[in-house]
Symmetry: C2
């Protein structure tokens, strides 16, 4: 077990048995009688990874005293939606490796990856419908809508170097922070815990916490795509530049450059048939300044998330939520 796994295991120790229940639900749900489909589902079960979104839902429940019998099911639903977005993302990005395993679009093809993503979405919705209250289904259908719109906007904003920071954050937020925020809010607000003014405030706190941590997570991801070592990150890097995505660290490097350098950056993005665009960016500008600025913004977001969580009653789960912010900032994988 690597150092990072030890750290994560410590963070989720307050919800260890709930996480185990979540695994049981996932094992049961991510199956199908069709042998062809089962073969693919076995393959993607190796993408499951850290399950940070499910863990955050459970920690939010514990930290706000909302945990119910149905929380592990909700955590599984969130993880299945996340898995669906990963499978579709890999098609969109033309990615090759995810968590050191060949992506579905590589192992089979794009067709199968689109269908498998659809399958996971539909199974996630189906599972959410088994919950006593439709609240979770409603939140997740709205959240999935926002994720799609964020990705569509990102897709239309490719190669746009006039993007403002607020546009980047809105799009990156809709793409990533949205689901993490929904996970945290659901954990704290799921109706079985009953309505009270305090519960409502907890829900707002956890939604804000999730948004900030989620956006920080995406910013770190964008920095890793630009600077990370594929061996450590465990997935393809440099895909943003190949795909024309103008991320915060690049935007910051661009703002920080003179006109000649800006032109060179744009050229690296747009010149046909260029390979290793991310590497070439390092040749034409000082990417490290942009990464530094972006990481400072991520730190600011994590600090605001921690401040929000510190309002909750003291508990091991609350402390874990605070620490997860730092974990997000420090990850190199």
């Amino acid at each position: 077990m690597s150092a990072k796994d030890v750290v994560l295991r410590g963070l989720i120790s307050p919800i260890k048995s709930l996480m185990e229940e979540t695994q049981v639900v996932l094992e049961r749900e991510i199956t199908d009688p069709s042998p062809a489909a089962q073969d693919m589902l076995n393959h993607i079960s190796r993408f499951r990874g850290k399950q940070m979104r499910g863990a955050l839902l459970l920690l939010a429940g514990e930290a706000t005293g909302a945990t119910s019998d149905e929380h592990p099911t909700m955590a599984a639903v969130i993880e299945m939606i996340h898995l669906a977005t990963l499978v579709h993302d890999d098609v969109l990005d033309g990615a090759e490796v995810r968590r050191r395993v060949a992506c579905v679009n590589q192992r089979w093809d794009n067709q199968v990856a689109v269908l498998l993503g659809d399958f996971l979405y539909t199974r996630a919705f189906g599972l959410s419908l088994t919950l006593k209250n439709p609240y979770c289904s409603c939140v997740l259908s709205e959240t999935s809508r926002k994720i799609c719109i964020g990705e569509i906007e990102q897709s239309t904003m490719r190669y746009h170097f006039d993007l403002k920071q607020e546009d980047y954050e809105r799009i990156a937020g809709a793409k990533t922070a949205c689901l993490i925020s929904a996970a945290c809010e659901l954990g704290a607000r799921y109706p079985e815990a009953g309505y009270s003014e305090e519960r409502d405030r907890f829900g707002d706190d956890m939604a804000a916490y999730g948004w900030a941590v989620g956006l920080a997570f995406q910013i770190v991801d964008d920095c890793l795509d630009l600077e990370g070592d594929p061996e450590k990150v465990g997935k393809s890097v440099g895909t943003d530049a190949e795909d024309g995505k103008v991320t915060l660290p690049i935007l910051c490097s661009y703002w920080d450059s003179d006109e000649a350098t800006r032109r060179a950056i744009r050229e690296v993005y747009t010149k046909p048939d260029l390979d290793k665009r991310a590497v070439r960016l390092h040749d034409v500008c000082d990417v490290s300044r942009g990464v530094e600025f972006a990481m400072a913004r991520a730190r600011e977001l994590v600090d605001s998330a921690a401040a929000r969580v510190k309002e909750l009653p003291e508990s091991a789960a609350r402390d874990a939520l605070v620490d997860i912010g730092d974990y997000v900032l420090e990850r190199r994988w």
Copy 2:
């Protein structure tokens, strides 16, 4: 207005005002505040076409006395799910034209088409959650799962000339008949109509009717892909052979051929860099025999569907359901 539109208008006259209500729901639901998304949604609104699935749901409601205030919403949900599958199908098939309009994957790209399909799925689920009873959501999440599995199996069965007719029907059924069957069953069984033994039988009748008509529809579609005129069909034809899909008319032609011809058929499917594979199939074998056999099977299915519907009390809606079977067989578009 073309002759086919006049025919269809006659068939759906028993549900004219319910169809108008369905349009209002669709107009309201297929929108988004994001200008980029709205632009794409405006584009795909031109794919809406015949709305046969929504019409069948409403006719099933009328023919079984089950129509409620919520039927137009259910019809809209069904049409949105269908639209989502169309948008994803066009990615899968690499199609260029749908209902004489450029496909999303052509007008924009595959990325956007995947996301827009996801968006439509999620909006459809969101809309189904506004219904009083979760029955519709449950049926549709299960139906969407089956559609995905059908497509996955079809994808893994490409180039398999040892496919049996029952395998073809299972896969084609999961892909197409499933949603049509669910539409018909929902129309007849939606719980607001209350439970009774008769209602239960109506539900079974309509599910069987929908399955048979839906499978016939897919068989006709496969024949049109092989023999149809793209001008009349209104979408790309010949894509099945390009994509390695072994459909019933081709299977029948294959069974009907000697070993040399079979080898030639397989070659047309598999030889790299061949263009116009569907046209070449006509050169190497007598495709018309296969089409004839497949159409006879479609006729058999439509007859069984009609027999099932004739058990219902006499009404204009019931007669329309019978006539729609013939309409499916006679379409050349």
